[in-house]
């Protein structure tokens, strides 16, 4: 991956755009943006974006590799699909944002301690274990992601919430021990491992 990290990009030349096309989910759409800004204005968390999607696309075309991949902007995507619904050019913007986030994380360029990036990792690990998400463990992992002390604090702050959920039988303390699972967990893990290998090989081949 190091060769990818140090890839030279020249301003307003195609090198970074080509890299995105090859390695980022739906990246081949980036060149089709016409800078209307409708995605930027449609994002419910718009205020939280340092760079709007349309601006990220321009940055990619301008060759701003470092700034794009280390940005936390795409981690603000709530997957609401407003941008996709409205984009006049039909860009699958939500997916491109997911793709950029994933690619940045893969290269180790994603901002450290980005909460959604962390949550996403926790979620993935959680689901990989049993093939289904264990909500209780997922919640706890999120609370404790910044260490034990912070975890206790978070858990206390959300204590009422947890009690409410338990009372409504929408959370089950027993889930902590085992919990729901698919039968063929090992098969699933094997399958995903294979998929990851194929994807890694493809990206490696592109660099």
């Amino acid at each position: 991956m190091s060769d990818l990290n140090s890839a030279m990009t020249e301003r307003y030349h195609n090198s970074f755009l080509r890299e995105v096309e090859a390695n980022v989910e739906e990246g081949e759409w980036v060149k089709m943006c016409m800078q209307c800004g409708v995605c930027a204005g449609s994002c419910p968390l718009g205020n939280a974006w340092e760079h709007t999607p349309q601006k990220l696309f321009m940055m990619i075309r301008a060759g701003k590799r470092e700034a794009v991949l280390s940005s936390d902007s795409m981690w603000m995507c709530t997957s609401c699909y407003n941008c996709i619904a409205r984009c006049p050019r039909g860009l699958p913007i939500t997916h491109i944002m997911h793709g950029l986030a994933h690619y940045a994380k893969r290269l180790g360029l994603a901002p450290k301690n980005q909460p959604t990036a962390q949550f996403s990792q926790i979620f993935w690990d959680n689901l990989m274990k049993k093939g289904r998400v264990n909500e209780l463990k997922l919640g706890l992992s999120v609370y404790f992601k910044d260490g034990f002390g912070q975890g206790i604090k978070n858990a206390l702050a959300n204590k009422q919430l947890g009690q409410n959920m338990m009372k409504a039988k929408r959370m089950n303390a027993m889930e902590f021990f085992g919990g729901h699972s698919i039968k063929d967990t090992s098969g699933l893990q094997k399958m995903i491992k294979k998929a990851q290998e194929i994807e890694d090989a493809k990206i490696q081949g592109n660099s």
Binding site: E10, R11, Y12, H13, N14, L17, R18, K31, M32, M34, Q35, Q54, K55, M58, M59, R61, A62, K64, R89
Partner: protein
């Protein structure tokens, strides 16, 4: 039909006319005062029976002059269509009963209005002749196309396809024009994704194979004289030989030149051979002959190219173009594709300000460019720094930062400038009264460029410009109406355009040229009085050679002979009557429209004596806009003061000052003139008519003061066809003015 005049009047009593007005009194006025030999009433004159009655009178009774008192001359035109006789119409419906309240106290004045309109229509009719073409016209159907580029070649092929012989005069040694140097063209057929062949070679071959088309290469037009149907043109070849040909109509398709970016040092055009214009790139690509595109300085293959858009265009700065070629971005996309199609790894960046890729074709081509990975950036270029690798410095307007990029080649998008010849009105033509003797030869405007048409016209050698050198029409609705009848501009000399538009435009200009030639052959006027056979004639013995008519004709239709007498050219004339209005000695007239025909209407209005306290207001309204506005006022029931008597005129430019003085002398209390908008955004259908009238009326103050009359009694307004409320108000305002300042002392 015998030459004997027989006057017949018809009064319609339908649409409430019979209920509102005393029609027997109208009939009596028509016969006794109006001298109609017969006058019939009909309950619905426009019905087939009513029309048949008139037709029978024309056929069996020999009626040669008919007066129809019914609705407005704008209504029921198809029913009251008797081209074989002279006809006038008294507007009793829109002009009288619809603008007056239906109440007993208004009955008397409303009837007086109607009475007067009958008198006026009868008086006008007596002074009319049925127009006949002069007989001077001839039919020559050959079309001259000046310029052998895409536009000219298309005009020639389109005309020939309709069966008309064509001559092309081309300055260069080959046909093809600028496009002959292009590698490819912007796509003109869906899916609008790839540059296409220019088609120049095919067009040249088609012309060479076409027996109806004659090509004069290395040739220019040395002189153009005559008129539609009989243009007499000297074609000069480089060798000096001159041939003379006669043409029915002319299409000027002399194309464009490109803006020279040398004056804009920031783009470094003069400082590096690798900074080229978009036209120069075409040659470079053509020279590459399908191989890699190499840069001029060292022949190195271009690996990165920057397109700097909007160079010297759309700018309010001195020395730059205030307009835009409109197609520069499409050209840049096409040219970037030259590089991408040869080598997809070549970096192509287009730095634009507003990406102009309009229409279906434009937007499709833009997307096609993006698909090929052309980089588009909204960027304001501040400097191109020469060097082995060129540095383009710019403000990225989206990323909001000063930045720069490197390129092997920089292409400047320069604008198209019309190659239109000198503007005849670059310096206004004025008549210097005092230096009349000195102005024996017409004053030519200062010319900085060579003439193209070398028109032997009183008003300059070439087509008048509209703006920035473009010879485009001023009229949105009538894009081909140049001010030189029978000569039509086509292609980028009218406005910047691409090849598809230029080809459509060439077809349009060919249409108009063919039409002009055909109609000139029949003695029929061109737009906007299409088909009009009337034609100005003048009485030489009364003419003082003042040249007002030759100078004021908005169409440059009138030449002067050696003695300074006007030489009218029937098929150049548009029948607006501006010459008639210009003539101080009233020697110019049409058979169906003359100083006399209006004067008779003015004189036959009954001007009540002073103690009747019934003023009279004369309204001279342009038939194209003001008169229809008054008609619509009638339809809307807007009131018009009963003192007003409205006379439609062909154009305010045709208004003779004598009408003003005569009506004041005969006791009219106020005069309202209504013409179209003048000035830069004029709406006058005859271009300068309304403006001329305004200028002339500026001087009417002298007349008024010599008569000891208040200046407020004569007003001139610009009135639009939409002034449905305002036009009546202007008349009503005059009634108030008269009430304020009192009646005219010139009553008998």
């Amino acid at each position: 039909m015998s030459d004997e005049k027989k006057f017949a009047g018809y009064i319609c009593t339908g649409c409430g006319i019979g209920e509102r007005l005393d029609s027997s009194q109208l009939e009596m006025i028509a016969t006794r005062e109006g001298k109609m030999q017969s006058c019939k009433q009909h309950a619905m004159l426009c019905s087939s029976e009513g029309v048949q009655m008139i037709r029978d009178d024309i056929g069996s009774e020999g009626a040669s002059h008919i007066m129809i008192a019914a609705c407005s001359r704008r209504a029921k035109v198809e029913a009251f269509n008797f081209p074989e006789v002279a006809m006038t119409r008294a507007n009793l419906r829109e002009g009288v009963i619809w603008v007056r309240p239906d109440a007993p106290e208004h009955q008397e004045t409303t009837q007086e209005m109607a009475d007067d309109y009958i008198r006026m229509a009868c008086a006008e009719l007596r002074s009319l002749k049925l127009p006949h073409a002069s007989g001077e016209q001839s039919l020559n159907k050959t079309i001259l196309v000046v310029g052998g580029g895409i536009t000219g070649m298309t005009a020639a092929l389109e005309s020939a396809a309709a069966g008309y012989p064509v001559h092309i005069v081309e300055k260069q040694g080959a046909l093809g024009g600028q496009a002959a140097d292009y590698a490819k063209a912007i796509p003109t057929r869906s899916p609008y994704k790839e540059p296409r062949d220019t088609g120049v070679a095919e067009m040249i071959a088609a012309i060479e194979a076409n027996g109806l088309i004659t090509v004069h290469l290395n040739s220019t037009v040395a002189k153009t004289a005559g008129a539609p149907g009989r243009f007499n043109v000297d074609i000069a070849t480089e060798s000096g030989a001159v041939s003379n040909e006669t043409f029915g109509a002319i299409i000027q398709a002399t194309g464009f030149k490109l803006y020279d970016p040398s004056n804009l040092p920031q783009y470094g055009y003069s400082s590096s051979p690798d900074i080229v214009t978009n036209a120069e790139l075409e040659k470079l690509v053509k020279a590459a002959d399908g191989g890699p595109i190499k840069r001029p300085s060292d022949g190195k293959e271009v690996k990165a190219v920057a397109f700097v858009q909007n160079v010297g265009q759309s700018s309010s700065e001195e020395g730059q173009l205030p307009y835009h070629s409109g197609i520069g971005d499409l050209i840049a996309i096409k040219q970037a594709m030259y590089f991408k199609d040869r080598n997809n790894d070549c970096d192509t960046t287009i730095l634009f300000n507003n990406l102009r890729t309009p229409g279906a074709a434009g937007e499709d081509f833009y997307r096609a460019g993006q698909e090929k990975m052309i980089t588009f950036s909204k960027g304001q270029v501040s400097e191109v720094v020469p060097g082995d690798s060129l540095e383009v410095k710019f403000q990225d307007l989206i990323l909001d930062e000063e930045t720069s990029m490197q390129a092997d080649l920089v292409v400047l998008d320069v604008g198209m400038m019309p190659n239109s010849g000198p503007d005849p009105y670059a310096v206004p033509i004025v008549i210097d009264e005092k230096a009349e003797a000195a102005s024996e030869t017409p004053r030519a405007p200062t010319v900085t460029v060579d003439s193209i048409l070398n028109l032997d016209y009183r008003q300059g050698s070439d087509l008048p410009h509209l703006k920035n050198g473009f010879t485009d029409s001023h009229f949105i609705c009538f894009p081909y109406e140049t001010r030189r009848t029978g000569i039509y501009a086509a292609g980028p000399l009218r406005r910047p355009m691409d090849m598809r538009q230029a080809q459509d435009d060439a077809a349009g200009a060919a249409m108009k040229a063919i039409q002009a030639a055909e109609n000139a052959g029949k003695g029929m006027a061109a737009h906007p009085r299409a088909g009009d056979l009337s034609f100005p004639s003048f009485r030489m013995d009364g003419c003082t050679q003042c040249k007002r008519c030759t100078v004021e004709c908005p169409f440059g239709a009138i030449n002067e002979d050696e003695k300074g007498y006007p030489m009218f050219n029937e098929s150049r004339c548009r029948r607006c009557g501006t010459c008639m209005g210009a003539c101080p000695v009233r020697v110019i007239s049409f058979e169906n429209y003359s100083v006399e025909s209006v004067n008779q209407q003015i004189k036959n209005v009954e001007v009540p004596e002073e103690f009747d306290e019934k003023p009279r207001i004369l309204v001279l309204a342009c038939e194209n806009d003001a008169y229809p506005a008054l008609d619509q006022a009638g339809m809307n029931g807007v009131e018009i003061n009963p003192w007003a008597r409205v006379i439609p005129v062909r154009c305010l430019g045709s208004v003779s000052l004598s009408w003003i003085t005569d009506s004041l002398n005969s006791g009219y209390d106020g005069i309202v003139l209504m013409g179209c908008a003048k000035g830069d955004d004029y709406q006058c259908h005859f271009v300068r008519g309304s403006a001329m009238a305004h200028e002339r009326m500026d001087k009417v103050g002298d007349t008024l003061s010599s008569l000891n009359l208040e200046p407020e009694r004569v007003v001139v307004y610009e009135v639009a066809i939409t002034d449905i409320e305002r036009a009546p108000k202007l008349i009503n305002d005059m009634a108030e003015t008269v009430e304020k300042i009192g009646l005219s002392p010139f009553k008998f």
